[in-house]
């Protein structure tokens, strides 16, 4: 009997491990995960940009001359692009935050609903950024 037991080949079991940081690229993230990590990245980015944005606000408010200086600074295309990126981060953070408020009130908590609202956040924040960008580059 003991011999029979020995002959049974050992089953190869699949190992399930936690996702490691280097695996992240191999996973197809659901829309909610993308919104979530972008919410975090945009929040940290806005935190870091705070003094720069306050400096621009100060230029725009201090005096007539500094206002002209402000206009000169934001007239540079690289500055405009930086401001556009910051605007996207802000608007994404804004839309994702409002989605949080809906979820706090138990709205769209299921898988499909959360996916739909996540896509809405991504699209709406991009549309708002396009509007800000067109205004920033003087289209309307």
């Amino acid at each position: 009997m003991s011999e029979a037991v020995k002959e049974v080949p050992k089953k190869v079991r699949r190992e399930y491990r936690n996702i490691h940081i280097v695996d992240i690229g191999h996973y197809r993230q659901p829309p909610s995960a993308i919104v979530s990590i972008l919410h975090r990245i945009s929040g940290a980015g806005l935190f870091l940009m705070l003094p720069f944005l306050l400096y621009l606000l100060q230029l725009s408010l201090r005096s007539e001359q500094s206002f002209m200086q402000f206009k000169g600074v934001i007239d540079h295309v690289p500055v405009k692009i930086l401001l556009l990126i910051i605007s996207w981060g802000y608007l994404h953070h804004f839309c994702a935050g409002i989605r949080h408020l809906f979820m706090d009130n138990h709205f769209a908590l299921d898988k499909d609903g959360a996916s739909t609202t996540a896509k809405a956040v991504l699209i709406l924040s991009l549309l708002l950024t396009v509007a800000v960008g067109l205004k920033l580059f003087g289209v309307f």
Binding site: G43, Q58, L61, R62, G97, L128
Partner: protein, 122 residues
């Protein structure tokens, strides 16, 4: 908290519930900033030929200064909760985390003083 969750008189075994206040303030400050954002966004998207007079006149009113400052202090707390969360999630070294959190607080406090100076300079 419900008594059945306690061991003995006071000790909770299902989380300390320290986070609920921060969670709530995160929401309330978020709502304040969202309202402020909508006001400024509509102003920006609907305005034409921005002049110093128009822009500064808005910030020169006392109620707008107070609203701006209140919104900024909301931002201060909101950003603190968010950045503290990030540091707790990714920085496992206690000493480094403490240094980071001190830097976050200094960064935000300096920004807040700077913001108040800007709002009351108009």
């Amino acid at each position: 908290m419900a008594n059945k969750e306690n061991i003995g008189q006071n000790r909770l075994v299902v989380g300390a519930h320290y986070g609920i206040k921060d969670w709530l303030i995160q929401r309330l400050t978020g709502i304040v900033m969202a309202v402020y954002t909508v006001v400024l966004l509509v102003y920006f998207l609907s305005g034409q030929n921005f002049s110093y007079e128009g822009w500064a006149a808005m910030f020169a009113q006392q109620w707008f200064k107070l609203l701006s400052a209140a919104t900024f202090f909301g931002l201060l707390y909101h950003a603190w909760v968010g950045m503290r969360d990030i540091s707790m999630d990714y920085c496992k070294n206690v000493g480094l985390r403490l240094v980071l959190q001190v830097l976050f607080v200094l960064w935000l406090l300096i920004s807040a003083v700077y913001a108040v100076q800007i709002f009351w300079s108009v």
